[in-house]
């Protein structure tokens, strides 16, 4: 009951404090053995007008990426085994790495305006893609 309330109350009495400030931003990266780190952000160079319209109604990949970011922020706030497991499972499922491969996965947070210099690696692990 307490768990249900703790999940429901923030939705029923929301704080609505969107973009209060721009803090450290997560970067979720993955690489094969000894390879180059690759950012999992599914960002394109430019989208066509038709793609922009389509994404208003159908945007599952980007929304899953936003949830992966949410998992990374939960892991940063509370590095419990459950939060780690959720983050790893979601990140591996999101990647397009072949099933059964071993990969290194890391989560780092980049400070605004640091151009990548002011960064902290919060989490790093080896995992096998299911």
């Amino acid at each position: 009951m307490l768990r249900v309330l703790s999940l429901l109350l923030p939705a029923l009495i929301p704080s609505w404090r969107f973009f209060k400030e721009v803090g450290p931003s997560p970067r979720i990266e993955l690489r094969g053995a000894g390879g180059i780190w690759q950012d999992l952000t599914p960002r394109t160079g430019q989208r066509s007008f038709a793609q922009v319209l389509l994404h208003l109604l159908w945007n599952p990949v980007w929304n899953e990426y936003l949830y992966l970011v949410t998992c990374s922020e939960r892991l940063a706030a509370d590095p419990s085994p459950e939060a780690q497991a959720a983050f790893i499972a979601r990140a591996l499922a999101f990647s397009d790495v072949k099933s059964g491969s071993w990969v290194e996965l890391r989560l780092r947070f980049v400070e605004p305006g640091s151009q990548g210099a002011g960064q902290a690696i919060l989490f790093e692990t080896m995992a096998q893609v299911p």
């Binding site: 939705a11 973009f19 994404h55 159908w58 980007w62 929304n63 936003l66 949830y67 980049v110």
Partner: protein
């Protein structure tokens, strides 16, 4: 707008928003609780046993929050839970007064979603200078394309963009006192959500927020007749 019309319009828009959201999950083969939520949304859209459909949706939302250890899509999921709960109460509470109070609560939360968001931005010097919005473009995870990321190189556009958003959010409650002004504000707010969807990929926020608009239109007419 009458209470019944506002309630029905909210139901239709909520059902559409939920169908959009749950189809995305079903495409990822995440069947539960999305099949249950889809059933509730289709029943609600077709006005078949709407009060029961809303109860099913409310239970489905709790299941959804539990499955993802909180909201899957941040504020948009919170808004959908809020709309569902208020519509549920508007059907199930005894007496017209209590039912109206439920829809009024949704309307007030909709206003707060803009004004609180505007207030916390305008208090921040980085938002007032445009730097915060520039950092959202250059640094945050949100820009949907590299072309959008490059908008931080246009400081005047970013500065006026930040102020347009803050002013719209802050003056939003004042538009409750003039019938036409609210429609203009809602049209501008819709454009703001569309811009967020196009620039930052926050498409679910558009449909979640729009589903509460009829409640606010009804609330204004109720307020102006007091």
């Amino acid at each position: 707008m009458s209470f019944e019309t506002a309630l029905r319009l909210c139901e239709i828009l909520l059902a559409a928003a939920l169908i959009q959201r749950n189809l995305e999950h079903l495409a990822r083969k995440e069947l539960w609780p999305h099949l249950a939520l889809m059933l509730g949304a289709v029943l609600l859209l077709m006005d078949l046993a709407a009060p029961l459909a809303l109860l099913l949706l409310f239970a489905g939302h709790i299941w959804h929050l539990h499955a993802y250890n909180g909201p899957y899509n941040g504020g948009s999921d919170k808004m959908l839970v809020l709309v569902t709960t208020c519509l549920c109460l508007a059907h199930w509470l005894p007496g017209q007064g209590a039912q109206e109070l439920a829809l009024a609560y949704l309307a007030v939360q909709l206003v707060l979603s803009y004004v609180v968001s505007g207030w916390i931005k305008v208090k921040n010097a980085q938002w007032r200078s445009g730097q915060a919005l520039a950092e959202v473009f250059s640094h945050s995870i949100y820009p949907r394309s590299r072309r959008v990321q490059n908008l931080h190189k246009r400081p005047k556009l970013v500065f006026w963009g930040a102020w347009s958003v803050m002013l719209l959010e802050l003056i939003f409650p004042l538009t409750l006192f003039w019938h036409g002004a609210l429609f203009v504000a809602l049209a501008l707010a819709f454009c703001f959500h569309m811009a967020n969807a196009i620039l930052f990929g926050l498409n679910r926020f558009v449909w979640a927020w729009v589903s509460a608009y009829p409640a606010l239109i009804w609330f204004q007419s109720r307020l102006l007749t007091l």
